[in-house]
Structures are given as structure tokens and as C-alpha cells.
């Protein structure tokens, strides 16, 4: 039993729950933590694809962006109730994942990377063309979503715990999926597609299902991202953002969703720390990424397992 894989996330969730009460309660810290948790959700959904199904998507940011833009479109139409917006946004992202995934999953290897990249770019250009919603400049929301008529999400502390609950829920869902029969089929097809077929499992529907689930989770993360910043721009959908998400997954390690969780938290915190050190923080961040690929093959999760 990999008890560490369960204990570790629980410790992280506990630390995140305590954070506002032990000196991280100011606006800036909470915004940063919310950002880390939201990217944590997105990274966990991507780890279901990369680590579980072996599908290396370089267009995952598009799904995040579609969730965020669904909030924008509804905000513009003055629909701001979370009970309505969240299901629509998640459904939109899942639908996009279903349509593009149905095409992309027919390919494999480098073609899959390129096709997801192409679909991501298509979504990016669509977003920058939406003149009604600010085009390239982005769109500032009138405010955060309402929850059944109340403005609870405006409350920083409530928003913090909403993010935490969604993050924990995402982790639980993906962990459960990977441990289920569904997850075993995904992994079997990743390890050896021919053998998986030989024992009677066509990988295609399983992979497509995982792609749609990951898309839905990323869409939900996009809703939270839009609400956290109260601003949405096409920059959310760039392929560089997809690269960042992949880095989070690998930084944490591919052993399971807890890896992506740690990777996303570490990524956002390192990014924040470095950007305080110097304006040119990417000069440090880029080589750091290269060194991680060279020397930390199993990510942070791998280091902890060894330690």
C-alpha cells in the first residue's frame, strides 16, 4: 500500500487549511495560495492524461481558458449565479475536450502532441478574436460569481476554502479513478497497447473518457481562475501556459495525482519567489526546468519516496 501517496496530500491539504490562520491571511498571500490551488486542480487533471493514459497534451491550457471564457460570456449576459455558471462552463470544456479528443486520440506520440497544440492554438485565436469580450486585451468581470444569490465568494476566506475543497475533491476523484478498473485499463494501454487489445480492451473509449474528464476538471479550474483574478485574457490559453502545466506535472512526478499537486504548488511558489528576486526570473526558471528534466526523473514525489 502506497500510504505515502495518501498521507502526503492530506498533510498538504491540512497545511493549506491552516495557512490563513498562521500568518498567511493577508490579501496577497491568499491570492497566491488560491492561484496555486487552482493550478493544482489543472495539473492534477493533466496528470490523469500524462501519467495515467500516457497522453502528452500540449493544449491543456485551452480547456482552462474555455472554462474561464464561459464565465466571461455569461458575465456579459449578466448570468452570475455559480449554480448555473459552473455546470455550463464545465460542460463547455468537456464538450470541447470530447470533440477535439475524438480526433486527437486517433493519433499517437508526436502527432498527438502536435494536434493538441494545434487545437489549443485554435482556441487561443478564437479567444483573441472575441471583440465583444475585449479581444486581445481581455475582459474584466463585473464581480465574482454569486452562490444562490449571496456574494459569499467575494469573501477571501470563503474563496480560499472553496478552492481547497475543489482541489481536494479533484485529487480524490483522480486518485479513485486511477485505482479503479478504468485506471488500470488506461495504464495497461499505456504500457503495452497490443497486449491491452489482446485481452479485449480497445483503448480508444477509455482514453477519450479520460480526456473528457480531464477537460471538465480543467474547465472548473478555469472558472475559479477567472473568479480569483476577476479578469480573463487570451493569455490564459497560450501554448506556453500549456507548457507550464506540463512542467508542474513533471516537477511533481508522474507517480500519481499527488505528484501534480506538489508540482503545481512548488511551481507557483518558486515563480513568485523568483519574480521577487529579479525581473528576469525566467533566466533562472528556464535552466531550473532543464535541470529538473536531467536530474529529477521522478519529480518531487520521487525525491520524497527515496528520502
Amino acid at each position: 500500500m502506497r500510504w505515502r501517496d495518501v498521507i502526503l496530500p492530506l498533510l498538504i491539504f491540512a497545511a493549506l487549511a491552516l495557512a490563513p490562520f498562521v500568518g498567511f491571511g493577508q490579501g496577497h498571500s491568499l491570492t497566491l495560495l488560491a492561484r496555486a490551488m487552482i493550478f493544482g486542480m489543472a495539473a492534477i487533471s493533466l496528470s490523469l492524461l500524462v501519467g495515467g493514459a500516457g497522453l502528452i497534451s500540449l493544449g491543456h491550457a485551452a480547456l482552462l481558458g474555455i472554462g474561464a471564457y464561459a464565465v466571461v460570456v455569461l458575465d456579459h449576459a449578466r448570468v452570475t449565479d455559480a449554480l448555473l455558471v459552473v455546470p455550463i462552463a464545465v460542460a463547455a470544456a468537456a464538450l470541447f475536450a470530447l470533440l477535439t479528443g475524438a480526433v486527437a486520440i486517433r493519433t499517437s506520440g508526436v502527432h498527438f502532441i502536435m494536434i493538441t497544440l494545434a487545437f489549443g492554438q485554435m482556441a487561443f485565436f478564437t479567444a483573441s478574436s472575441l471583440a465583444l469580450y475585449g479581444g486581445d486585451d481581455g475582459y474584466t468581470l463585473y464581480g465574482r460569481l454569486e452562490l444562490g444569490g449571496s456574494r459569499l465568494l467575494e469573501d477571501r476566506l470563503f474563496f480560499h476554502f472553496a478552492c481547497l475543497a475543489l482541489l481536494a475533491g479533484t485529487w480524490l476523484l483522480v486518485e479513485a479513478l486511477l485505482r479503479s478498473r478504468f485506471g488500470r485499463v488506461l495504464r495497461a494501454a499505456r504500457e503495452n497497447e497490443m497486449r491491452a487489445r489482446a485481452v479485449g480492451f480497445a483503448p480508444y473509449p477509455f482514453r477519450l473518457a479520460s480526456y473528457v474528464i480531464a477537460g471538465a476538471i480543467a474547465g472548473l479550474a478555469g472558472v475559479m481562475l477567472a473568479n480569483s483574478a476577476e479578469f480573463v485574457a487570451p493569455a490564459y490559453l497560450t501554448w506556453q501556459r500549456s507548457g507550464d502545466l506540463l512542467f508542474m506535472v513533471i516537477l511533481g512526478g508522474l507517480a500519481g495525482p499527488h505528484g501534480a499537486l506538489m508540482g503545481a504548488l512548488a511551481f507557483v511558489l518558486i515563480e513568485e519567489w523568483l519574480s521577487h528576486l529579479t525581473e528576469h526570473w525566467r533566466l533562472i526558471f528556464g535552466p531550473l526546468l532543464v535541470l529538473c528534466v536531467f536530474f529529477m526523473r521522478d519529480g518531487i514525489a520521487g525525491l520524497l519516496r527515496r528520502g
Binding site: 502528452i56 501554448w239 513533471i250
Partner: protein, 306 residues
């Protein structure tokens, strides 16, 4: 949209196509021979443009700048290969994507730190300034024609190198079966390095030539890189001929689409919305073409036999 305008756009498209080809050629060779995804190939193009602009400013001559920038781009490519890329050949695609993504972050920020975020200017050389009268009422810039000619010439040279020389034969052999080539006594690692350096130089060459007509700025290689990937996927990964045809196709579709779609959209939308929607649709058009081609021919137009 009359014939004159269409002709200008077609020429612009072809010229963009040959630039794309110069970048895509290196990418497709490196991928074909070494099975290596190099996201950092776009920054080679940017580095070429910066080297060209800086060296031209230092020497006061476009031509000296061009001549000096080529070996400098080659040396830079070899340095990156030695420092980073050669440690990735044996790794999976995911590691290659990530590590080369790190190189992009570093170099984009690096040129911003050294040269500032503002675009650099590189003057068009004296001999190629002015225009050529192609037909009645149509003056086309000489420099753009020169790019087209230089690109086609390089493509011809590359074809000759790959198809008709011993080095090219080794490259093709490496693309179809590298371990076998090694077993026959060819130093495959040296071959890889040569192909890599050559690809970097071609991308650098494209960068220098584009520098006078496009703005030289950090991140200029990123969008071109994505288009170059589209090109090699459409053309069939590893195929130089496929990359050539696909590059011209993508260049034409992108440029003509950009010019015509806003006008087309005007039929349905008000002018400002039409301009924006048309531009976005034009940017998407290339990816639609790619999706359609891959749906019909999953391995691209000219798949390399393995």
C-alpha cells in the same frame, strides 16, 4: 480584391513560405534523424535575427552582418546541442518537450535582458532597397523578392545535399535506421551533431533575412515555431520535400487568408468586428488545414518510409 492585390499577397505568402521552410527543414531533419522534438528551434531563428541585426549594426554593413551571423548561429546551435540537447536523445518525448521549453524560457528572457524588450531595427541593404515593377501599377519591394530567391536557392541546395551527396545519403540512412547505420561504422553522434548545427544555421539564416522586414523582438520565434511544427506534420515528419511543399502551402494559406477573410467577413459583420474576426479565422485556417490533412493522411503528405 483584384488580381494585383491577389498577386502581391501570393508573393508575400510564398516569401513567408520559404522562411517557414528554412526553419522547418532543420526541425524535420532533426526529428527525422534523431527522433528528437526540439521546441527550442524557434529561438534559433530569433537568435539568428538578433545576431544579424547586431553584427550588421556593428560592422555597418548588411552583408558583413549576414556573413558573420551564419557561423555565429551555427556555433550557437552546436553549443546548445553540447550543453543540453545531446543529453536528451535517449529520453522520451515528454522530457524533450520540457527541457527544450526551458531553453525557450531562458533565451527569450535572455535577449530581453541583453537587448531590452523594444524591437531592434535592421535596415534593408542599399543594393536591394527600392522595388521592382512586376506589372502595370505594381511595384514589389526588391528585398522581398530577394528573400524568395534566396529561400528557393537554399531549398534547391538542400535538396542536392540530401539527395545527391554522401553526407545526405548518411542523413537519409540515419533517418530510416540509426542503429544499423552505427553498426556499419558511421559515427552517428557526429552525424547528429552536424545535422543539428546545420538546422540551427538554416533557422538563423531565416532569422537574418526576416530581420529587416519583421520586428526583431523577444519571443519572435515562438509563433513561427508552432507554424513550423504544423508544416512538418503536414509534410510528413522527416521529409524535406514534404516540408517544402507544406511550408509554401501554409505560407500561402496564412497570408492570403489574412488578407481576404476580413473582407469576406465584412459581408456578415460590421467593419471593426469583421477585421478582428477575419484575422482570427485566418490564424485558425492553417490549423483547420492541418486537421483536415491529418484526417485524410495521418502520416502527412509525404510520409517517410521506415
Amino acid at each position: 480584391m483584384n488580381t494585383t492585390l491577389l498577386l502581391v499577397q501570393a508573393l508575400n505568402g510564398l516569401q513567408f513560405g520559404v522562411l517557414l521552410f528554412l526553419v522547418a527543414a532543420g526541425l524535420t531533419l532533426v526529428f527525422g534523424v534523431m527522433d528528437f522534438i526540439n521546441l527550442a528551434h524557434g529561438v534559433q531563428y530569433m537568435v539568428g535575427a538578433y545576431l544579424g541585426a547586431t553584427l550588421a549594426a556593428m560592422t555597418g554593413s548588411f552583408w558583413l552582418g549576414l556573413v558573420l551571423a551564419l557561423p555565429a548561429a551555427l556555433a550557437f546551435g552546436l553549443l546548445l546541442e553540447w550543453l543540453v540537447f545531446r543529453h536528451l536523445y535517449a529520453r522520451d518525448h515528454l522530457s524533450q518537450v520540457l527541457a527544450t521549453f526551458g531553453v525557450i524560457l531562458f533565451l527569450n528572457q535572455g535577449v530581453k535582458a541583453v537587448f531590452g524588450a523594444a524591437p531592434l531595427q535592421m535596415p534593408v541593404p542599399e543594393a536591394l532597397s527600392g522595388g521592382v515593377r512586376i506589372m502595370e501599377g505594381l511595384l514589389y519591394p526588391t528585398y522581398r523578392l530577394a528573400i524568395l530567391a534566396a529561400g528557393l536557392l537554399t531549398a534547391g541546395l538542400l535538396w542536392f545535399l540530401v539527395e545527391r551527396t554522401r553526407a545526405g545519403m548518411l542523413v537519409r540512412a540515419g533517418a530510416s535506421n540509426a542503429p544499423m547505420l552505427g553498426a556499419l561504422g558511421v559515427d552517428v553522434n557526429r552525424l547528429f551533431m552536424l545535422v543539428f548545427g546545420f538546422g540551427a544555421m538554416l533557422a538563423g539564416f531565416a532569422g537574418v533575412m526576416a530581420a529587416p522586414i519583421l520586428s526583431v523582438e523577444p519571443g519572435m520565434g515562438d509563433n513561427l515555431l508552432i507554424l513550423a511544427f504544423v508544416v512538418i506534420v503536414i509534410g510528413g515528419i522527416g521529409s524535406v520535400r514534404g516540408a517544402f511543399i507544406a511550408a509554401l502551402l501554409v505560407g500561402l494559406v496564412e497570408t492570403i487568408g489574412r488578407a481576404m477573410l476580413p473582407d469576406l467577413m465584412r459581408l456578415f459583420l460590421d467593419p471593426s468586428a469583421a477585421r478582428q474576426t477575419g484575422a482570427a479565422l485566418a490564424s485558425m485556417l492553417v490549423y483547420v488545414v492541418m486537421a483536415v490533412i491529418l484526417a485524410v493522411r495521418p502520416a502527412g503528405l509525404f510520409p517517410v518510409r521506415r
